[in-house]
Amino acid sequence: MITYVANRAIQFVLALIVASVVVFALMSLLPGNAAQVALGTNATPEAVAALEAQYGLDQPPLIRYFNWVVGMLTGNFGTSYVTGAAITPVIVGSVQVTGILVIAAIILAIIIAVPLGTFAALEQRNWIGVTISALSQIGIAVPNFLAAIILVIVFSLTLGWFPSQGWMAPVEGLGGFLSRLVLPVVSLALVQAAILTRYVRSAVLDVMREDYIRTARAKGLTRTKALFVHGLRNAAIPVITVAGVQLATLLVGAVIIEQIFVIPGIGSALVRAVANRDLVTVQGVVMVLVFLVLIINLIVDVLVPVVDPRIRNAS
C-alpha cells in the first residue's frame, strides 16, 4: 500500500503545480484589469497607471507568479489589492459554506437514488420500474435553477415553511441554519439524484446477473433480500466513483443556486473575483478548488479498495 500512497502523493503535487501555471496563464489572458475596474467610468489614464503601479500589475508576469506561489506555499494567499482584505479567510469561509451545501446535496441524492435505482432495477419489467427510469430521465432535464425557483414559490412564498434565501452559520443558530439549508440542498440534489439513479439502476442490473446472487437465492434468501444483503455492497463501487465526480463538479456548479438563495459560497466568490479582475483572489480560489477535487479523487481511490478486498490485495 505504501508505494501506492507515495506515487499518488507525487502525482498530487505535480497536478497542483501544473494547475497553478494554467490558472495564471488563463488569468493573464483576461482583457481589462483591476485598476480599470476600480476607477470605473470616471477614470483618467494617469489615475489608471498610478493604480496599476500600486497594485503591482506593472511587474513582469514571472515575478508576479513567483510572489504568488511563494505566498501560497506559506498558506497565505496574500491580500487582495482590489478588496484590500486578506484572501485566506474569504476562501476558507466560502469553502466551508459550499462544502456543507454540496455534501448535504450529494448525501440527499444518494438517499434518493439508491432505493429508487434499486427498485427500478428490481421492477424493471413492470410499470413502476419504467416510470422511475422515465422520471429519472426527465429529472436530468430539469435545470437546477428552475427547480430552485419552483421550490421557493411553493415552499417559501405560498406555504411559508422555509425562508426564501439567506445563509446562517450553524454556530449562529441551528434552526435558522437548517431552515435555510433545505431548499438549496433539495434543488441541487434533484438533478444529481436523477443522474445517480440511472447509474445505480445499471449497476444493480449488472449485479443481479452475477452468479453469487443466484447462489444467495439458492441458500434460501428471497430475490430482494439476496439483492440487498449481497448485491448493494457490490453495486456501491460504481456508485461511489460517480458520486465522487458529481461532488467535484458541484463545488463550482452550485454557483447558480448560491446566487438564487444568496449563499456566500466558493462559486459566487469566484464569479465576483473575476468580475472585479481580482486576479490574486481568482488564482487562490481556483487553486483551492483544484486541491479539493484532487482530495475527492484521492478519497474515492482510497474508498474503493476499502469496499473491495480484491483491489486491496492487488495494490
Binding site: A141, I256, V271, V274
Partner: protein, 300 residues
C-alpha cells in the same frame, strides 16, 4: 460450456428470442429518434418559415398567454414564443452537438492512447500523466473556462459551447480508457497482435467499434448536461446573448414572471426536457442495439 444456446439442429428457439429482444430494444431507440427528429424538424423549418420574425417587437401584445395569433403566447417584448422556440431549437441542438463533439473527439482518443501506453513498460507513467492531466481538467471549473472564454472572445454561444465541451472531456477520457483496457485484454486483440497488426491498426479496427456503445451512453448523458450548462451560463450572462434566441436564455429570463405567467418558463423548459429525453433514450437504444453482451442475455 458457455451459454451459447445453439446446437446445430435445435436452432429454432434462439432466433425468435433474439428477434424479440431486438424489437423491445428498439422501442426506446424509436421514441428517442422521434423526439430528436421533432426538434431537428423545428430547427430546419425555422430556416424556411416561422410564424413571426424573431426580432419583430410588438409592445402592445406583451406577455400574452397562448392565443390564436400567438400559439404559445408572447414574451415581455411581445415577440412570438413559438418562433423563438423554433429558432432556439437551432442553438440548443448546436450547443449540445458541438459540446459533445468536442468532448468525444478529444476525450476518447486521449482515453485510448492512455490505455494503449499503459501496456508498454515505458508507457505506464506516460499513461498516468495523461490521466492526472485529465483529473486537473476535471478539477478545473467549467464555469471559469466559460468566464475566461466569454471575456476573451466576448460572451456568446460559441465560447459557452467550447467551455462546456472542454469540461466534458475528462468524462469521455475515463470511459474510453477503461473500455480500451478491457478490449486490449481480450483474446481477439491477442490474436490480432499475433498476426502482426500494429498498435494504431488495433486501436482503429478493434478498439473503436467495441467501445462505441460505452461512448454513446456517455454522449447521451453529456448532451443533457451541456444543454443545461448553457442554460445555467446564460443565468450568469455568459451563455447565448441577446437578441439570439436560445431555450436556456428564455428559461432564465422567464424566471421573473414565474408567479404571474408560468408558461413563459413552461415552453422552453418542456422542449429542453424533450431534447434531453430524446437523446438519452436514443443513446440507451443504440447502446443495447450494438452491445452483443446485452443481446446474448436478451434483457434490456
Amino acid at each position: 460450456m458457455s451459454g451459447n444456446p445453439s446446437i446445430t439442429s435445435a436452432g429454432g428457439t434462439t432466433t425468435d428470442q433474439r428477434r424479440r429482444t431486438k424489437l423491445r430494444l428498439n422501442a426506446s431507440m424509436v421514441i428517442g429518434a422521434v423526439l430528436i427528429l421533432l426538434i431537428v424538424a423545428l430547427a430546419l423549418v425555422s430556416f424556411v418559415w416561422t410564424p413571426y420574425d424573431p426580432s419583430a417587437v410588438d409592445p402592445v401584445a406583451r406577455l400574452q398567454s397562448s392565443s390564436t395569433e400567438h400559439l404559445l403566447g408572447t414574451d415581455k417584448f411581445g415577440r412570438d414564443t413559438l418562433t423563438w422556440i423554433m429558432y432556439g431549437a437551432r442553438i440548443t441542438l448546436m450547443v449540445g452537438i458541438v459540446a459533445v463533439g468536442i468532448a468525444v473527439l478529444i476525450g476518447t482518443p486521449i482515453g485510448i492512447i492512455a490505455a494503449v501506453f499503459a501496456q508498454y513498460p515505458w508507457g505506464v507513467w506516460l499513461s498516468a500523466v495523461i490521466m492526472r492531466a485529465n483529473d486537473i481538467l476535471l478539477a478545473f471549473p467549467a464555469l471559469l473556462l466559460a468566464i475566461v472564454f466569454a471575456a476573451v472572445f466576448s460572451p456568446g454561444t460559441g465560447p459557452a459551447m467550447v467551455a462546456v465541451g472542454i469540461a466534458a472531456i475528462p468524462g469521455f477520457a475515463r470511459v474510453a480508457r477503461s473500455g480500451t483496457m478491457q478490449v486490449l485484454g481480450s483474446e481477439y486483440v491477442r490474436a490480432a497482435k499475433a498476426s502482426n497488426r500494429s498498435a494504431p491498426a488495433i486501436a482503429i479496427v478493434h478498439v473503436l467499434p467495441n467501445i462505441a456503445s460505452m461512448v454513446i451512453v456517455q454522449a447521451s448523458v453529456a448532451f443533457a448536461i451541456s444543454v443545461l450548462a448553457e442554460a445555467g451560463l446564460s443565468f450568469l450572462g455568459l451563455g447565448t446573448q441577446a437578441p439570439v434566441p436560445s431555450w436556456g436564455r428564455m428559461l432564465q429570463e422567464s424566471q421573473q414572471f414565474l408567479s404571474t405567467q408560468p408558461e413563459l418558463a413552461l415552453w422552453p423548459g418542456l422542449f429542453i426536457a424533450l431534447a434531453v429525453l430524446g437523446f438519452n433514450l436514443f443513446g440507451d437504444g443504440l447502446r443495447d442495439r450494438f452491445d452483443p453482451k446485452m443481446e446474448a442475455r436478451g434483457n434490456v
